[in-house]
């Protein structure tokens, strides 16, 4: 009687565990120091990461959730179609994301397709991720230059303090990007320390706020680049509707600012 062959090569559980620990540890040790640490893996953070990593910048994205992509999976009202205004569709084209015209100047794409392509583009460019990792504090040097972040496991924050006395750890980098959306966590931390004063995002709804987000994207404090909706929080810009063109273009502008600054250094 013939012996039935396995489809998969037999590997013991311990080997699986060793493979996970070893690969994670090697990457983590390497990325304890990076060129750019991006806090927040939503569309603007992914776009910054993708663009700078393509130019050889060593980049780590810290994301508090298990999943990467932030709100880019869905559009307004939990509907999984995302919209971009002209010229945001050019980035969709560049990333190979199919889209269709809704009305003049407005384009619509499938959220899952757009988001997964953007994540893949960032991965392909060489960006590494630390997901389930939450931003805790900033690392500061002379002149309050931001040059890193203190992070912890996300679940630590979700449990009662007395159970989880787990100290965070620090990661160093030449630049930190705050792409944490409306929370603007990194900027807020600088505010807590009395280094920066945020304004909080305005309540008015103005169509042009997408332009304003891109216009104000840049270095808000030495070493700290702000992109995406964190820009609106930092500068008190008006709210905007559920369109993502500004997130992609703000990410691109943030990347340009970093690349310019790295050239000067």
């Amino acid at each position: 009687m013939a012996v039935k062959k396995h489809i998969f090569t037999p590997v013991s559980e311990k080997e699986v565990t060793r493979a996970i620990v070893d690969a994670f540890a090697r990457q983590f040790i390497e990325y304890v120091e990076s060129d750019c640490l991006i806090i927040g893996g939503g569309p603007s953070g992914l776009m910054v990461g993708r663009d700078i990593a393509l130019k050889g910048v060593k980049t780590l994205i810290v994301e508090r959730n298990n999943y990467i992509g932030g709100g880019f999976w869905i559009g307004g009202y939990l509907m999984n179609k995302v919209t971009v205004r002209e010229p945001g569709q050019k980035i969709l084209e560049e990333l190979g994301i199919p889209y269709e015209k809704a009305v003049k100047g407005l384009y619509v794409a499938d959220g899952p397709h757009a988001c997964s392509k953007l994540i893949a583009a960032a991965c392909d460019a060489g960006v590494k991720f630390a997901n389930m990792t939450i931003f805790d504090d900033v690392v500061l040097r002379e002149g309050n230059q931001v040059c890193g972040a203190v992070v912890n496991w996300t679940p630590v924050n979700a449990l009662p303090r007395e159970i989880t006395c787990v100290d965070p750890i620090a990661l160093e980098s030449k630049f930190v990007v705050d792409s944490t959306g409306h929370d603007a966590c990194v900027v807020k931390k600088l505010e807590e320390r009395g280094i920066l004063k945020t304004i909080g995002f305005g309540a008015m709804w103005v169509e042009q706020s997408e332009d304003l987000v891109v216009e104000h994207t840049g270095e808000a404090h030495p070493g700290l680049i702000v992109t995406g909706m964190a820009v609106a929080t930092t500068y008190g810009l008006p709210r905007m509707g559920p369109t993502f063109g500004a997130m992609l273009l703000s990410g691109r502008k943030g990347a340009q600012v970093i690349l310019e600054k790295m050239k000067k250094k």
């Binding site: 307004g76 009202y77 509907m79 919209t83 809704a102 009305v103 003049k104 100047g105 407005l106 004063k197 304004i199 909080g200 305005g202 309540a203 008015m204 103005v206 169509e207 042009q208 706020s209 332009d211 304003l212 216009e215 104000h216 840049g218 270095e219 808000a220 930092t234 500068y235 008190g236 810009l237 008006p238 509707g241």
Partner: protein, 266 residues
Amino acid sequence: MSDFFHPIPSTIDLFGEGDLNGLDITQLGEYLEEKTHIPFRRRGNIYKRFSEEGIQVAAEKLARVRVRDPGKKYVSGIPFQAEVDYEKRRIRDPNWKIFGILYEGALYQKIISDLIFGSRLGLEHCSILFTNQLFGTWDRGNNRYHARVSLYGFPSLISITGLVVAPAKPKEFYLKKQMGTLMEWLKEEYQGRFLDHGDLRMTEVLKGYAVQALFFYLTGEPFCEDRDCRLFNSHWQEEVLHSQMDGQYEFCPRHESILKGLRERR
């Protein structure tokens, strides 16, 4: 003439700030001239003769008068460098298209007044600035800032963007927007019932606002209670369109008679 508390201006000076998409300044000036017999002058972009130093000073001032939170009364603060840089780019580009920042109206007007008049009082001409930027004033009734179409003074400010944003659109429009209907679809559905950016009716509508500015200069009272008169202080887009385009007459008998008197004096 007892209706006036101020001498008739030698000219009506029309200034611009940013891209005045949809506004034909010459046509508007000619209208004012026809209605008042006061000559108009196109004074162009207010920042056109600025030196680099002047741009820096103006940019810092403008960045300081942003309304940070429409729900809180303006508090002065030190602006971010990014905000000053934004204002510099805006000043340098005479066709600047981006708007959305809400400026504190009275402080914005003071900055513009200093830019136009310097140390002079500037009362010999009726000066009107048309801008694509947004300004607001604090409403003590509901404790928040509201965007405005116009702010009358020396100079008077009239915001083209304010004309699109400030007067309320039909109520159903907001209900549908709240339910997530895309702005572009709403604009199609309610086409014609409110003014939009680049609207072909913009020049015609703004003529009435310019006359309001002139009445403020001459009498201190820019408005009229008659909703058919172009001096009506509209709060809804449909009121704007009615009083400026579909009213029973251009000006109510009282204001028409003041304008007639003005023409006869010239």
